[in-house]
Symmetry: C2
Subunit: 339 residues, 2 copies
Amino acid sequence: MNLVSVQECRSAALVVLEHAGVPAAAAALQADLLIEAELRAVPSHGLLRLERIIHRIGNGVASATATGAHEWRGDGFLAVDGQDGLGPVVAVSALKAIAARAKRTGIAVAAISRSNHIGMLAYYAEAIALGGQVGIVLSTSEALVHPYGGRQALLGTNPIAIGVPNGERPFVIDLATSLVSMGEIHDRAHRGQALPEGWALDEHGDATTDANAAKNGAIAPFGQAKGYALGLAFELLVTALTGAALGRDVMGTLDADRKANKGDVLIVIDPLSGQGAAISAYLDAIRSAEPAAGFDQVLIPGERGRALKEQRLKDGLPLAESVWTRLRQMRDDVKGLQT
Amino acid sequence: MNLVSVQECRSAALVVLEHAGVPAAAAALQADLLIEAELRAVPSHGLLRLERIIHRIGNGVASATATGAHEWRGDGFLAVDGQDGLGPVVAVSALKAIAARAKRTGIAVAAISRSNHIGMLAYYAEAIALGGQVGIVLSTSEALVHPYGGRQALLGTNPIAIGVPNGERPFVIDLATSLVSMGEIHDRAHRGQALPEGWALDEHGDATTDANAAKNGAIAPFGQAKGYALGLAFELLVTALTGAALGRDVMGTLDADRKANKGDVLIVIDPLSGQGAAISAYLDAIRSAEPAAGFDQVLIPGERGRALKEQRLKDGLPLAESVWTRLRQMRDDVKGLQT
């Protein structure tokens, strides 16, 4: 692990993205999303993904310049054709439009198709909540999760993020409906560690604790039947609104050469004013409640990630050696070309 | 267990509700919601609740006639003051308004405060999906659930229902963010059965397998930290939109003498047309996937409840003896008064 300054990572990512033809403002957004994941200790959504983004642009399955075509299908429903654009660029453009619209209508939704991976959903939920609005963000993904009682990966990890205003420190959750991430499985495989029982199946559908075997298998849904139900509901809801592909037909966020056909849904709701004090007091009561044996304190979801972010903004990012080496190589290759 | 015809239960409930001053159409809705829960084998939301509803009307904390005051706070945001009305009456009135509005705007939300218990959320999600729209329904409740890592009940069971159109058999999930319901705890206590480890804490915050001890304690969130995060997010989201009470301040759905101050949120979204075939095919693929050891088949959430409903509509409701006895008594008391 190296502690690398956020500024150095960011400027390296910008050099690489801009060399691939991404306009400066769009490159800044894409870099911000990758760095946000590193700041919040979700490296599977971090700078590891930069090289694949560059390859996707080079392979013609991601557009360096598209920002998404907007069509209002009703006063509160924005249909967005992502035009193969970079996920954060398309999503932020859509978000700005629906956040402004919701101020007038009370609620608005963006249904995004044909956009690339939008990164950590918490980024969008937090932005919405910092703007004084309530946000719900959903996204689908390649099938990596087996149904409860099934043997094969048929569902995406289908995360949800929710943001609720609470002053400068809004309440934000961001969680996949899988028990763990495929990134965690790969990390265990890399370290030669076994998986706890119940995490995963191998490619034949049999339970395994071998992380390498799980890479071609399936991850369990979180919370058994209930988590499976939620993950499936999110997949169907996103498809009903966006026309995205379903299940094993989803592609384009884990490979370098196929167009992305998953969907993203952002909902922004204008809340009642004046609930802030009650929400803050309630969160304080939970935070100060007596913890169970084995716990230091009762945590509010999202606060550990935010604390890490604040620390890492000061101290730097603990990048994996391989990620930092590759990022420098990509940057230096560009600079070499430019001199 | 008695098998009682749905028609007989329904007409008994109508007699009792109308005698309490509930207009016929409203009584039919309230009875439908109670019977819907019996049909889907969720007796905690069933006819057991009728006597409390009558007491609440008698005690002046529930209105027999209110349907809710509607105020559009924007083209897509319906704020509903429930006026202490019966939950299903207020919720269905709000739902009709936002379902019609969403046909024009693409999305609409109803934020309901000061309404009584609205019953099984699946009822509303299914109605929305049968109308060809996507529905998300949230409701809060008395604090019965402890935070992950906590010792005290600080959260409601905070259920969510989602409905997605799929012809005559829409996809509908309805689940609490608690691991089990308090009704299940009471049922185990009644039968003298122990609880599995991890389900509940006693009133001192210590883990217990004694169902009687758990009645005054707290239920675990489902899915550990993730289920806790979702339950807390739903509680905050509902309060941000409705102004409902939070945590241990919530009352009025489990007692007979305090006004209800929880909140309900219904969101209706008009989907893209033409996703139906893909959704049906995907659900078929999951349904026919090879099951894991110990499972007969991979289930689609909500389908077991629907199959039970279809069977019970023919065969009758397997009411608990005490519930059926009390329902007949209440009906006969009214009839005695009326002759």
